[in-house]
Symmetry: C2
Subunit: 95 residues, 2 copies
Amino acid sequence: MLKELNPILHSQLRLAIISILMSVEEADFVFLKGQTNATAGNLSVQIDKLLSAGYITVEKSFVGKKTRTTCRITTLGEKAFEEYVNTLKSYLKLT
Amino acid sequence: MLKELNPILHSQLRLAIISILMSVEEADFVFLKGQTNATAGNLSVQIDKLLSAGYITVEKSFVGKKTRTTCRITTLGEKAFEEYVNTLKSYLKLT
DNA sequence: GTAAATCGGTTTATTTTATAAACCAAATAA
DNA sequence: TTATTTGGTTTATAAAATAAACCGATTTAC
């Protein structure tokens, strides 16, 4: 029986966000928007979902007078990502 | 910039179906249902989508008095799967 | 033999997701 | 001072996944 693919991660944009955060330790909204080419609205929604799932932390601060939203992956998020990748491999190795 | 993940394949059930068909040369409805643990309705819908995309062929026949729906992957389907896997790797290798 | 249950599905309705559009406050540029 | 841009959020819409209802044919149980 095939294991289920964590639906929180099985989304193009959320997977991209998490992948980036796995490699980068922290990334702000503007950086993520540029890397993923997502619209701001979509990115905002998907960041919220990852936050609600406990997969990332979100910190709002100021740089000069501009707001800055910084995201980091949590341990839970790392584990979820690793498990997602392993599950995915069980699908793909059938090739 | 991240490439887009083929949305026809970026679906848990359709990916499972295609993965199975990559390994098995042909599979009927009942077999796919058992392997994927999907409901008949969901499986029927997703098979239709893969058929419409030209990724599989679907052949209906009889075995004795029972109907049999046999699926096979097409060359286009194989190519799409391979490209999907490669794109996915570009997401995951960011780890 | 016939009523009820099962098999192999399809169709339709509902829920969930993803995406886009509209909006907002603050800052900067013209 | 009035656009315009920046850095987002909220809300509405479109698309997708899933579940529920249904269907005809076949068995099974009585």
